[in-house]
Symmetry: C2
Subunit: 113 residues, 2 copies
């Protein structure tokens, strides 16, 4: 079990966010990064409706986030063949790499707090 003091927590948050601002990639919004992590950490299948409910946001928010993150090759979409109303959100190589780098960033910064 991890124990982070308030000062450690804020320092970690600051250092990682500063690194995110510094790097060249476009910043993701809080909703976008939450969506991305949900898709990669929780078991599929992921649909628009399911993700909207989990995050407590409207469906257009999810659709737009998928549009944006699709352009960045962080996630992809596919029609569900069993129920063609559904759209299945899938992981991509780009998304996996993005999160791998994020995890490294957090891990490295956490060592210095």
């Amino acid at each position: 079990m991890l124990t982070l003091t308030p000062a450690q927590a804020l320092n970690l948050w600051h250092d990682v966010h500063l690194a995110l601002v510094h790097d060249a990639e476009p910043d993701l919004s809080v909703r976008q990064i939450t969506l991305l992590l949900t898709v990669y950490l929780e078991a599929p299948p992921h649909t628009v409706r399911h993700l909207a409910k989990k995050l407590g946001v409207s469906k257009p928010v999810v659709t737009r986030a998928l549009d944006t993150m699709g352009k960045l090759d962080l996630v992809s979409r596919r029609r569900d063949d069993k129920d063609r109303r559904n759209v299945l959100i899938q992981r991509t190589v780009g998304g996996a790499l993005y999160l791998e780098r994020l995890a490294d960033l957090i891990g490295n910064r956490s060592k210095s707090v």
Copy 2:
């Protein structure tokens, strides 16, 4: 020294961000939260130019972030009396409370990863 495995890091990031999406307050951008933490964690004085340089962004970005976060009572501005071209960015009670809650959130979520 803290050691966070990649999986722990991503789970922590996910859980905290999900809680931020769920709560009612407006989400801050990556640049805004970085600015806020810089003002609260680093020693004053903080000027627009100094903050812009530290974050690697343009001055209007800082001005706009201060406008937005000022309305939310997270930071305040004051003219520097010694050099009236400067604007000093100051902490507020609202900002301190916001970061206190954020630190709690991170600390609590980190216990479960």
